[in-house]
Symmetry: D3
Subunit: 278 residues, 6 copies
């Protein structure tokens, strides 16, 4: 059994991977083939099925775990897996096969608890705790990417990005004492909460219907409104406002909302290779 990051050119491989995407295409001279993206916790690799397409295509769907036999070849400077045989592997959990972050999730969970405990405003801390203390939310943070096809696009990227943005915001509140640190920290910890409702399971992370129509920003606001009943109206509005505009700098009406916008940008950029970098 071969981890994807260990695959090397010209090797014959047998492994269990998850199918992150599957498209049926056709060569210019009329033959059908399958173009796959195969993943496991160690990485990603393109796969191609050139033969027995009709037969093999029927054996698995996008999102399935599969058992694959093939040969690794080099194409345009990247490795590619020429698949000889492939079949569903129902005994494996495809969600557990999604590419994982490199950082230690327990350490990140510890940071998250630490940051949530830094909030001194009692009701804001309680509001944040109602999410951070919810095991199903915590499990989703470790499972999901921060932005599929964007930055932190691996399982646990959502946890990593949440901790990254909140860490930056905590630092900023120390550098700039005029900022309301409790409000800023709470908003940072909850800003991408809506992702937990917007996205389906790995390795595909397909948007739910609600996710596609309403987006993670509105879904996050709805979640906060449902659980933040203890907050006074004014603090709740401030918190919702900062979350609401975290993708729209011009709509920011408070310093904390503007800062959250830019901290979110900064952590995303720091995790992304710029255009033109070799």
């Amino acid at each position: 059994m071969s981890a994807i990051e260990e695959l090397a050119e010209d090797r014959v491989v047998e492994g269990v991977y998850a199918v992150a995407s599957k498209r049926r295409l056709r060569t210019r001279n009329g033959a059908d083939y399958l173009a796959l993206e195969l993943v496991d916790p160690s990485g990603r690799i393109e796969g191609r099925v050139w033969n027995d397409v009709e037969l093999l295509d029927a054996r698995f769907d996008e999102g399935d775990a599969v058992r694959v036999l093939g040969r690794v070849e080099r194409f345009r400077d990247r490795l590619q897996l020429e698949v000889r045989s492939i079949e569903a592997a129902p005994e494996a959990d495809p969600g557990a096969l999604a590419p994982a972050m490199r950082r230690d999730p327990d350490e990140l969970d510890g940071f998250l608890d630490f940051l949530a405990a830094e909030i001194t405003h009692q009701r804001l801390r309680a509001t944040v705790a109602s999410f951070v203390g919810d095991p199903s939310i915590r499990a989703r943070l470790r499972e999901l990417p921060a932005a599929p096809d964007g930055h932190h696009d691996y399982a646990g990227g959502l946890l990593e990005h949440t901790v990254g943005v909140a860490t930056l915001c905590r630092e900023l509140a120390q550098i700039h004492p005029r900022l309301r640190s409790d409000l800023l920290l709470a908003a940072a910890l909850l800003h991408d909460l809506g992702r937990t409702v917007e996205l389906g399971r790995g390795p595909v992370y397909k948007q739910t219907d609600e996710g596609r129509l309403l987006g993670h920003v509105h879904l996050g606001l709805r979640l906060i409104e449902e659980r933040a009943r203890g907050l006074d109206d004014s603090t709740q509005a401030e918190l919702l406002h900062a979350v609401a505009v975290h993708h729209d700098a011009r709509a920011a009406r408070t310093a904390e909302a503007a800062v959250l916008y830019h901290a979110n940008q900064l952590d995303a950029v720091a995790a992304t290779k710029p255009v033109g970098e070799p």
Copy 2:
């Protein structure tokens, strides 16, 4: 002698301030008057000279220290000083009368030294040290704003902003190990170096002719090129690149340059009241 931040409505005041701006205007019914911005380390106040304009106008220039006798009145929710008598105060240093930052400059200087010492790459540390160890540069950092008419627009704002951006970049390099922390930290510490050549003395901080034509970005690059002779070409180009694009995100070709752009934005935004905030 009255500090500006202690002025109150309906009080008669005598004080020594610096003239941050001076314009001669005329009322709609034909009378000339002077509109002044007066400053001292504690703050700013508008001043108006309604009488003896011809005489008083000849006594002082923009940028001078002046001795003022007047009365504080309220106009559109702000205090204003109605000037009865004003004359140059050549014994006072106008640069020392510019509004000052509230944070302790010695503490900030300590942070600056600490951050410069964090650089482990020997030649980058030496390049940074050639500026951070230069007493005239250090004096300028404590004297100048980061961006006149923009964020951190008081004496020492340049030191405060430099420390703020470098602190954020140091934090980011810890969250994102892929970033080259020495390069990022060096670029952060030097990114606004050109301000020391671009701007004249307080309280006016007028652009020099070179400053107006070449801007602080190019002037900073020139300074680094003059002193960074010890650096290998490749590291020097990386450092210059990050400084060169710190106002132009799309031109960034390296992760560190992109991160510096956004860290600079973030610290500036955190120091600025957003539009619409009451």
Copy 3:
């Protein structure tokens, strides 16, 4: 007692109006004065208080009904009221003095009921009915403008605009049978519902704190979510989506959402004088 639309140059006037805005300014030669916007159901006029400013300023606030004695003069092609005496008129209802629309509100209410009854989808009709059948909502539609300082900026403008957009959407569903007419009509009738929570009473229509931070779009979504419990998730998401993007065409994911955006634009433009029109 003089209606504002009947005021003529060089006439002495006595009337009861509401104060839509009040600012204390000062002439260039140092005298305070009050700049007012006075309104009644027939129109608007600028007012100026040049004398006894201290005394008269203390007698009333922005938003009050006032009794005014003054003289109408012409200034830069517009009439202006030079106020000689002014005092609060607590017996009058300032909300009832806001400028009113010219169209018959009962007729518009009839159109609104007719359009709401056109929806054949049972649960969408019920959702719309929970708002259209709510007397307090109906009263707000007749009291509020559609967009203060924008289009339909008079009492009842919200009702007029809601009927206008829904009428256009009904016509469009007939021209383009592919559109889902029930969804489109329901979204059109509810698209500006959040205004009823965002804005305070006339004639000032000041944003509430929540209104300033969350905006009428989000406040409308929250209202619909609270009352649309009977809708299946999918229909609710479609309805919320169309309301959510009615100011952001690029975010539209359905034909109905895109059409609502443009119908809203079109009705607003049709009610507004273009730049440059004499």
Copy 4:
């Protein structure tokens, strides 16, 4: 003989279609093939010629009617016609084979006459009548799309879009009495007149040389100027202005021009599937 909308997978087909586009491509391994878009009044289908390419290519041109023998296959969720034999069918009229609108053209022609008769301003009505009463113009409206490769991209789309925009404008003039309804309705009916000169015959609708260089907006203005001699200068300028800016909202100087711009947008959007709709 098989209508395109009735074609089904795995069926052998014989039919007469028009060639909306024809490109000679080459497979990656060096074999030439033809990629066709075939149309008839019921729809569109992609065609591929894999064999005897040299021979078959010489038999017909883009825009011709052709007799085709082939087999329908499914490729990437869409049907495609694998062509075995193809030859020109000179007895068929390719213009008559362009995809047609689904709405009844006689009914739309009736609406057009009704709308043109609604204009009460005598000379505007005469100007509009000089086009609406011209049989060659009427024939072109039934033959042409509103915007090739855009909205209403089928024969008669131009008629359908003209009626749609004019219907919306008539409704708007009723909702907003301040609009000059005769001017608005005339401009709506004539706004895309230039398409009749810009575009060649179906099914290709290729731009004429003049169409490519001058565009349908200018060509429409020229047509109106040639026939609107009876109009007074002022009304003619108003009419030309509204037509001239119907793709450029910022240039609108009258309410009617601004409304026409947005009504045109709205009808186009209502006829187009938004990005992201499944």
Copy 5:
């Protein structure tokens, strides 16, 4: 009689000028006054009427020639004329009093004839000649500015700009032989022809009603279409295209049209002081 460019501070002046603009304003303490822009061929000066406003205002209109008695004062670094007496001077021609260009108009007329004679394509030369040889067009070129409130904003600016753009285009055709020089030169000479219909007489140069609604680009196209009957359709379309897009680079479909756009920009920029220049 004093030419405006010779006026000096503190001098009493008597002169005949034209009124380029006239507005009735009011001081903050309630007194009306007139704000004038007075011009003669040598320059411009602001004028103010503080006394006898009612009486003097009735004596002349914007666009009139006036006889003025006043005193020159300095206000905010500019000279201003305090008017003591002013009356219409019907014996003077206000158009002849508009500020004039500094270059010799006869020399420019010579260049214009030279450039028009450089066109070798017979029918293009004839088309251009039908305008360049028209005395009323030639008179307008010497009377009008190129862009009122923009570049070349003095009498004859239109002639100067036309010669400037055509000279650049002739040079470009020599540097870049691929350009069709006759087409480019003809389009350059005619590109602002529409100004002769768009603008009224100096010194006000007010847009005509047609000018406001149709703009100089369309009015120029109409003029060319009226006189270019001798041109073949293809050449005419190329010529019209280049003129049509001379304010819209993205619409250019030919190299000559793109070049004309940029040559027009360049000559306008070369005649305009940039923002920020002292």
Copy 6:
């Protein structure tokens, strides 16, 4: 031996060309091939290696001169060379094989000397002479394109573009006497100087590492700063400013800088085929 511009369909060819680009691709059915861009002074042609790919690929690199045997075929309206045999030709100089300009380089060199001699300001002329009189700079101007993948993308394009922009600027200084002609001409002659450091040898013209990070604008400024020591600070700043903003019109602070920006645009556009031109 066949020059590329003389190649014709269906001919067998033997020639020595340079490899401007080389990519290894794969057909849809799995076979590797090489896609080449081959150049010689007379032009460019696409090449394809379908057979013996492994063997032939190892024989040469991008940027090499190669000896080729093949057959010319037509593909999608363009000629293409089907390569049968290819090998490095180390005796040929690949730089000398880059596509060359059509204009006479000696004539252009003459123009360059003439333009440089037109500068009357002694120190500006000396500064320009230090580059124009430098044989290695002159050789680079004849070797390099003005903008690889952009306008003037052939050997000597840099010389041609430099002469073109300077010629336009000289003409402009004659039309607009207010421009400082010496400054403008010097800036025009030096504006793209940085290209000589940014780009590697032909036919690939790959950016150096410094070129990629610092760009030709900054590299040009550095060169001028190194050699312009004789200039007074003020003139040097004006010269550097104009070069610095020649890609950023909004940053221009002087008329000469704004004019250089637009002259650069104009010469580039005049050398480029517009989108949509057949």
